[in-house]
């Protein structure tokens, strides 16, 4: 049974693919938009099929906007944004929201902090009141902050330190990036969680939480008119201020393989391989996703067939790419079976990557990848909540929600040559960072 808590651990896993592909046949959803005078943009997609509403607010601030000493602050705000403001004091936000049938959560990535409210339509005005209160008048009660520091430390111990994947992934990013802020973990280093100051908090809030730095997406049993009316009443009067300063650091090109090993008490080893890839909003985005589908999606994919099915050296193979404002990582992951040297999995993965770089994929594989993306599109937009997240992600990471409906064209335009070219371009040995976790059992001593 997985925990499903708010302010939850979503920063660990992150979007294999929040974004998806509308294909040629993908249906469009009507979206009404309005930009308030203070610069905050509101997107509304009415859908009365259930009497509920999903309201997502995307702030363009994440761990990339932090610095050594304050790592994890963006994620910490994901917590203290619930801990009291002027009208709704400590604990009131959750109490009032739940008493009115609503619930909430939030997630933080290296790039954005997203607040999610799910509620019956009768609570619509209340939610606007709550959102306006906390953006405008967040309280910084030292006692609540100390208590929440403990909560986040517990979250870190549970989701990073207590999970092999969490430990290894953190080391991988820290090694693959030497200059750019993507190198530190979203949850923050433990010593930073323990030491950030009140001044750090206030500065971070001032930096990230201007209405002009936010985009709100409302999907469900509402009309654009009522949403825009409430936005004008509650949000428009909030003054805007400067957005976070641009992240100017550019990660220098990686010019040789980097490797790291983690020795840890564990039942099974673990392998992760990362390649630098461009930011989300770039021309290769679609080709890379098609390539990932061919290699990793479904039990007929090349990697599954080779490592899990045929040679039976891995339990699982996966790939992951975050939506990102800056050049990021495409991470490959393999869970070796017991007694299998991770190096063996590594070798087979490279062989498959070479194969896809050296010869074109088949028509059947290309078609399959595109069909996968179409089905995935429908899976993501079939709930009001999934649709709010998808519309918001396109708006924020591609600069325009309408790109969601162009994704169709963009995917069907991907050719076999594009796929091969992308494989050649990104899967080079010099561009990779390899992380291995090796079980170290008691009594055997350190190697």
């Amino acid at each position: 049974m997985k925990m499903n808590w708010k302010r939850s651990a979503q920063w660990v896993v992150l979007v294999a693919l929040v974004v998806c592909a509308g294909m040629a046949q993908a249906q469009e959803y009507p979206v009404a938009t309005k930009t308030l005078k203070n610069g905050m943009k509101i997107l509304v997609q009415p859908d009365p099929s259930i009497p509920n509403v999903a309201l997502y607010t995307f702030y363009r601030i994440g761990s990339r906007n932090e610095r050594p000493g304050t790592t994890g602050l963006s994620h910490f705000f994901e917590h203290i944004m619930f801990n009291g403001a002027k009208k709704y004091g400590p604990g009131d936000l959750d109490k009032v929201m739940e008493a009115n049938g609503g619930s909430n959560n939030a997630y933080t990535t290296r790039n954005v902090t997203v607040y999610q409210d799910w509620f019956p339509r009768s609570a619509l005005e209340l939610i606007f009141d709550i959102e306006a209160d906390r953006i405008q008048n967040l309280s910084f009660d030292p006692k609540k902050i100390e208590s929440e520091r403990g909560v986040v430390a517990s979250e870190r111990r549970s989701s990073v330190d207590g999970e092999n994947e969490g430990v290894l992934s953190e080391q991988l990013w820290a090694t693959a990036f030497i200059a750019h802020p993507y190198q530190w973990p979203v949850v923050g280093w433990m010593s930073d969680i323990e030491h950030w100051t009140m001044a750090d908090l206030k500065h971070h809030f001032e930096m990230g939480y201007s209405p002009s730095n936010a985009t709100m997406v409302v999907v469900g049993d509402v009309t654009p008119e009522e949403v825009f009316g409430l936005a004008e009443k509650y949000l428009e009067p909030i003054p805007s201020h400067a957005p976070p300063p641009p992240v100017t650091t550019v990660e220098p090109e990686q010019e040789g393989e980097r490797r790291l090993v983690v020795h840890k008490a564990a039942e099974l080893p673990l392998l992760m391989i990362a390649y630098h890839v461009p930011r989300t909003d770039n021309a290769d985005f679609y080709a890379l996703n098609v390539l990932r589908s061919i290699l990793f999606q479904g039990e007929s994919s090349r990697m599954y067939q080779r490592l899990v099915d045929k040679d039976q050296i891995a339990l699982d193979v996966e790939s992951e790419e975050e939506l990102a404002f800056d050049p990021t990582l495409l991470v490959l992951y393999a869970q070796p079976k017991e007694g299998v040297d991770p190096a063996k999995c590594e070798k087979e993965i490279y062989e498959e990557l070479e194969r896809v770089a050296n010869a074109p994929v088949s028509d059947q594989e290309l078609e399959k990848a595109k069909n996968f993306r179409l089905a995935e599109f429908y899976r993501q937009v079939q709930t009001i909540s999934g649709r709010a997240n998808t519309i918001g992600s396109y708006e924020v990471f591609f600069g325009d929600y309408r790109k969601l409906f162009d994704a169709a064209k963009n995917y069907s335009g991907v050719t076999k040559e594009d796929v091969q070219r992308a494989a050649k371009k990104y899967f080079g040995a010099n561009n990779r960072t390899v992380a291995t976790l090796l079980p170290e059992n008691e009594g055997k001593g350190k190697p």
Binding site: W5, P46, W118, G162, S300, Y378
Partner: protein, 463 residues
Amino acid sequence: MVVLVAAAMLMAGAAARGQNVKLPPHEKVVLPNGLTVLLLEKHSVPMVNITGIVKTGSMADPVGMEGLASTTAGLLRKGTKGRTAQQFSEVIDFIGGSFGADAGADYSSFSAEFLSKDTDKGLDLVADALLHPTFPQAEVDKLLAQSVDGVKAEKDSARDVIFDYYQAYLYGGKGYGRPTGGDEVSLKKIQRPEIVKFYETYYTPGNTILAVAGDFKTEEMKKKLEAVFGGWSGKAAPAVKTEAAGAVKGKRLLLVDKSDATQTYFAIGNVGISATDPDRTAVQVVNSVFGSRFTSMLNEALRVESGLTYGATSFFSMEKEPGPFAMFSFTRNETTEKAIDMALEVLKKLHTDGVSAEQLSSAKSYMKGQFPPSIETSGQLARVIARHEFYGLGDDEVNERDKRIDAVTRETAKRVIAKDFPLDNLVFVLIGKAADIAPSVKKFAEKQDAKEIAAPGFWGSGQ
């Protein structure tokens, strides 16, 4: 764009505004071969979901061969009369579809999803897996080996296995205490003949429910299903008895040693209620106050007020027979005793103070307000109607849900707290660093047991 928006607004205006959602109309047909078919149209996205329940689960696993039902389900797509495992994957992947199967204690189940334009192909694949699996030896060996390693991989994460240990200890390794997915020892005992026998005995039309929901026309779909599944035959499946367990008497504690742990995970509780318990709604309302939402008493105390943990929760797992009730949380090694003390105090407070009018009203609004998104997709709807059919629950379970919630009073709450929330009889299961926490948790129970996380299984050796 403007035109589209206007059209959508008209739709919004016409829709019912009340919460009180109802199940969309659906139909039940029993084919001459005994197969129960449920059909529910939903056209919001061009997809179809088929959820199947085979009314026998891991309770039919022979003792010592736990994981048989789950292995049988997992092998359905791994080779059929018409397709090898690889060919099956190739076809389902090519249409962007999915097919997954597993077994729980009460029943085995599968779920398939595909675009409605691929309905014929999708139905053909489902029928192939359900009616014609061949269980090739190589695939049997492969899956069993993967499952054994899967158990080991799970043990690397305390939160992934705490309830396996809890359930095993609570039920004394019997009934619901046997691992549905098997363990490192039992999986190795499973052989192909037992799998074939399990399949032939229990995968019969009379023992199966098919719930189909999504973008189709009922009459057309009915004809297709009759054509595809009408010829399926099989003998009546024997009934499997689930050993019902009474509540554990006294207090006992199992400490599972994970030597590298920096936090202790704990589950505390006793045997709870069944899926058809007449008090299930009241129990859920009280549990919403007590532990199943963010502002619950447990989470308020352990997280919001003290910062001891990232989350504290409680749940009732409701099955054919009374399933487990547990309080669950995790905390630093050093605060283990304090957090458990606090959880027990909160439980005591529930018994002494009951629930206030304000708490009751909030829990009711919350449960009603959060419900509609749980029956939003075709997949969710198919699961709900299939589950109702299996447990003999009617549509009222959804359609009358708000009314039943509203009918719960403080007096009802008081009654179910005394009856269904344990206080003096408790089972504790902790996964953590024994060297650090063992002395401080001795006080919680007279009977103490210990186990190493690397030791095979979730039960036995040292208990």
